[in-house]
């Protein structure tokens, strides 16, 4: 498998494919540059084990260190609360995608439209469909995925990474945000 093959083999998007984030610093630069980023945390984040933790633990750290508002999809809000993070909204993935596509929407915190939406921990195919909706109908919103698989429908995606490389990348992104 190449580093930029879609994880699900048939999820071939079309002419416009995600740029690959090759280094954690790139992800950090994208987050820092965003005026109003948003983190969308999916149900699988509470199941996926990354090293000695769950994916959700890294996402909580990312949100806290970066001061990034959070949308919890499905029932993952409960898992966030257990980690002392109150999500700004609990919404279905397709619901938040539709809101993001509205340039007049004031955002989950009422502070204005989001210009960067980060996704992690949703089923791969659902992430793909949601990202596709945003790619086509939310020109003002850039998308970035933090799963360890390549998502061609995003604006930026991590490549297909081993668990070890993924841990390193996530830790680096979080540490860099602290600086």
């Amino acid at each position: 498998m190449g580093s930029t093959d879609p994880w699900m083999i048939a999820e071939v998007a079309g002419p416009r494919r995600a740029s690959v984030i090759t280094k954690a610093e790139v992800a950090d630069a994208i987050i820092r540059r965003a005026r109003h980023p948003l983190l969308i945390v999916g149900s699988l984040s509470a199941e996926i084990e990354v090293d000695d933790r769950k994916l959700i633990d890294y996402l909580v750290l990312l949100a806290q260190k970066g001061g990034i508002p959070v949308v919890a999809t499905a029932q993952v809000g409960k898992d966030l609360l257990e980690r002392d993070l109150t999500p700004d909204r609990q919404m279905a993935a397709v619901d938040i995608a539709q809101r993001l596509a509205d340039p007049l929407w004031k955002g989950v915190d009422g502070k204005g439209p989001h210009d960067l939406a980060m996704f992690a921990g949703l089923p791969y195919y659902l992430t793909q469909t949601v990202l596709s909706g945003l790619k086509h109908f939310a020109p003002a919103v850039k998308t970035m995925t933090l799963d360890n698989v390549y998502h061609p429908q995003a604006s930026w995606s991590l490549s297909n990474l081993s668990l070890r490389d993924w841990v390193t990348t996530l830790r680096s992104i979080i540490e860099n945000l602290e600086e």
């Binding site: 002419p15 609360l81 993935a93 790619k135 086509h136």
Partner: protein
């Protein structure tokens, strides 16, 4: 005019069974006025559609960036680009949705046509429609609603079919290059396709219920057996797969007429199975659509009979591996087999038994039945040694060939961790494989991806052999329609909101985490005293569960249309009875005129009947059409995460107050009613998210305070249980203090105070200005 002559001797010769109908008999004694839209055409209900679509805006999620439907293409439609024909991405996506819905509608319609033609051929035009005797006077609510006629005989259905065939042709034509241009107009046609589909399903089911003696609106339809473990493998076994029950009926009749009923097991997969158990409760359902591959490979079926719809395209290839003869019976699914319809049955049997032919196309279901039975009796004793899956040694050996390339996992629709399970199996540990069995949708893509040629699906099934043997469940045979008296009893509590909702679990078996979730959701809502209705593959999945005492859900809950009931209406085409029940509430309870009065009735259902469809494993184009029919009636549909691949959601915006006003029919004033129901079509990521959504989507503007309090109680309780918090949208759903559930009063009041909430009135809600009784100049 209609007349029939049994036998007539004339100077010209002898005439037998002459049956002539001219024109349509005008209904005598039906005094209901004909409404505004009898036999509506493509644009007749466009205003209603656009009213819905203004509130529930399409959100498109293209599967790919391209259009490749004509030779101008491929055209890149990314962003705001247009294709060579001028089409843009929203229109292209809605066009694809229309194509899917039209395919679905055409499929049900073609099915209905075959059933009606066969019944007309055997029983004549005057065969009465009887779906429930005196218990069902509104025998065809959807036909009455859409067409404005009241069919009394099977012959009366011909006019309906001709109308439907015209409409499907028009719908398909609208998808041609350079035809429809606007996405909302495509969407209106999608809703039209859904309505046409609902009529077609009703035609099909009332015809087969009337002609074949299926349960007639029977809440106590028999419990029938379901699961691979129920099959007596000592007997010859026939598998019938598909949706059209005609070949199954002929097989069952042939067995009975020849005294063989107890000698042969007749088993089925998918809706054919459901319908044959409505005909004969001794037939057995193997499981939903996803059981095809595992059952074929088990070697248990000795003969396979295919009819139509949702049959794997590789059935013949799979059957050949097991040396199982295949009989195709539908011109829509010839499977590349030679047409043996004109050959003698004995000749075909001889060829199949000798292995000279792997299968035969027999477009005569009586002959096909004879061939199937005679063949199975001869081949079964010879095939006993094929009734095996890989042994445990073989599993270990095959798993040991795995190179951990992960192509299997990357091909799996559910991203199952097959490589990990293979690694464990190579060491003799099968628990991961066994666990995977429940979540496997049986597509077989993993095998096609495997460069080592490991028969992964077979390996999974082999590891789950104990579990397969324990697949012994019961499901209530499809009962058909809902009785008028049942509607009278629950109509009021539903419309007032005191029965918190009607939840229909329908559709296919493309589940994200196995069918058990369907059973769990059914029990959750039945336990909460919702009315739970099932159909199709979902009805089977609902049965595949046992509690600690060994009861299946259909044994735990009554089969009547009442609070806490769990009803299986039947196969895919029986979905019409679910829509029919909603429509009958308007007709029987509220005494609204059904006849050709679609817009008013849909407005009534939308504003008052707290019904929600859940298609947790929706896969097919038929499922798309079924959902579309519910949308036009104003009934929301929740799909599982795979349902997002239908490319488009219909989502409301709870945050836009201006979207949620209705007319108060008493005064004509515009009144805010809150976001109820919030969405018309929405994909849920998990079972838990779906459960919370369903509870919320059951709310309607017409709910009384008592009813809204009951509904809020369930919504808040489920939200707290699964999401860990009180829902943030409570202020949007509480209209007056009386709406607040008593046991939650202080918590809810705190939220309301913090949000700046204020009371608002409960109107007599309608979206239609035509329904305003006293107009005060506010339109």
């Amino acid at each position: 005019m209609h007349f029939a002559i049994k036998e007539l001797n004339t100077s010209l010769g002898k005439i037998r069974d002459l049956d002539i109908s001219i024109g349509r008999i005008e209904e005598e004694g039906w005094t209901d006025p004909v409404g505004p839209t009898p036999f509506p055409s493509l644009a007749s209900l466009r205003n209603w559609d656009l009213t819905l679509l203004q509130r529930y805006r399409p959100f498109y999620m293209p599967f790919c960036d391209l259009c490749c439907l004509c030779t101008y293409g491929k055209c890149d439609l990314t962003g705001d680009k247009r294709g060579a024909c001028g089409i843009d991405m929203p229109a292209q996506q809605s066009r694809m949705v229309l194509l899917a819905s039209s395919i679905g509608a055409a499929t049900h319609l073609s099915h209905a046509r075959e059933l009606v033609d066969r019944i007309l051929e055997r029983n004549g035009h005057q065969k009465p429609i009887d779906v429930g005797g005196h218990n069902v006077e509104v025998e065809a609510p959807i036909i009455r609603l859409v067409c404005g006629i009241r069919p009394r005989t099977i012959g009366d259905l011909e006019e309906v079919l001709e109308y439907l065939e015209t409409e499907v042709t028009q719908l398909l034509a609208a998808t041609h290059t350079g035809m429809e241009a606007n996405n909302l107009d495509f969407e209106s046609k999608v809703l039209h396709a859904g309505m046409i589909d609902q009529v077609a399903m009703e035609v099909a089911d009332i015809a087969q219920v009337s002609a074949f003696g299926f349960p007639r609106a029977d809440p106590e339809a028999p419990l029938v057996q379901l699961g691979m473990g129920t099959v007596d493998q000592k007997k010859p076994v026939i598998l019938v797969v598909g949706h059209n029950v005609l070949p199954s009926i002929d097989i069952i009749d042939y067995l009975e007429h020849n005294g063989l009923s107890s000698d042969v097991e007749v088993t089925g997969i998918c809706c054919t199975a459901t319908d044959m158990t409505r005909y004969s409760p001794s037939a057995k359902i193997i499981g939903p659509i996803s059981w095809q591959l595992r059952y074929l490979r088990s070697g248990i079926p000795d003969v396979v009979v295919m009819d139509e719809q949702c049959i794997r395209a590789d059935t013949l290839l799979e059957a050949q591996k097991m040396r199982t003869p295949v009989i195709a019976t539908s011109p829509k699914n010839c499977a590349g087999l030679p047409d043996r319809s004109g050959d003698g049955a004995e000749e075909i049997v001889a060829d199949l038994v000798a292995g000279k032919a792997s299968g035969a196309l027999i477009l005569d279901s009586v002959k096909a039945a004879q061939v199937a039975v005679q063949t199975v009796l001869e081949v079964a004793p010879e095939r006993s040694h094929f009734k095996v899956l890989p042994s445990t040694d073989m599993i270990t050996e095959k798993a040991g060939e795995c190179t951990q390339c992960k192509l299997c996992r990357r091909s799996c629709p559910n991203d199952l961790a097959i490589p990990d399970a293979m690694k464990a199996a190579a060491k003799g540990k099968f628990s991961l494989l066994n666990e995977m069995y429940d979540e496997c949708v049986g597509c077989g893509r993993c095998e096609h991806a495997c460069p080592q040629g490991i028969p992964i699906h077979s390996v999974i099934c082999a590891a789950a052999q104990k579990q397969i043997k324990e697949e012994t469940f019961t499901v209530r045979a499809g009962r058909g329609a809902i009785q008028d008296v049942e509607i009278r009893q629950v109509g009021g509590p539903i419309v007032l909101g005191e029965i918190p909702g009607v939840v229909a679990f329908v559709g296919c078996a493309n589940y994200p985490k196995g069918g058990r979730e369907v059973a769990e959701m059914c029990m959750e809502f039945a336990h909460r005293r919702y009315i739970v209705v099932t159909s199709g593959c979902a009805a089977m999945s609902a049965a595949m569960y046992r509690d600690d005492e060994g009861h299946t859900p259909y044994e735990m809950y009554p089969g009547s249309f009442e609070a806490g009931g769990l009803l299986n209406v039947g196969s895919c085409v029986s979905n019409a009875h679910i829509a029919g029940a909603a429509v009958k509430i308007a007709s029987i309870f509220a005494r609204r005129n059904l006849r050709a009065n679609y817009e008013e009735i849909a407005d009534y259902v939308y504003n008052r009947v707290g019904a929600v469809g859940v298609a947790w494993g929706a896969m097919s184009q038929k499922a798309a059409a079924i959902a579309s029919g519910f949308w036009r009636l104003g009934i929301p549909v929740v799909v599982g995460p795979h349902g997002s691949k239908y490319r488009r959601m219909l989502l409301g915006r709870a945050d836009k107050k201006e979207d949620w006003s209705v007319f108060d029919a008493r005064s004509g004033e515009r009144v805010y009613v809150g976001p109820v129901p919030e969405h018309l079509f929405v994909a849920a990521e998990t079972k838990e998210e779906a459960a919370v959504m369903v509870a919320k989507l059951c709310m309607r503007p017409n709910d009384t305070s008592k009813g809204r309090a009951i509904k809020l109680n369930h919504y808040i309780d489920l939200h707290k249980r699964y999401m860990g918090t009180l829902p943030s949208d409570i202020p949007l759903l509480v209209r007056t203090v009386a709406d607040i559930p008593l046991t939650m009063k202080s918590d809810v009041l705190n939220i309301l105070r913090e949000s700046g909430w204020s009371e608002h009135s409960i109107p007599d809600p309608t979206l239609l200005s035509s329904q305003i009784r006293e107009k005060k100049g506010v339109r």
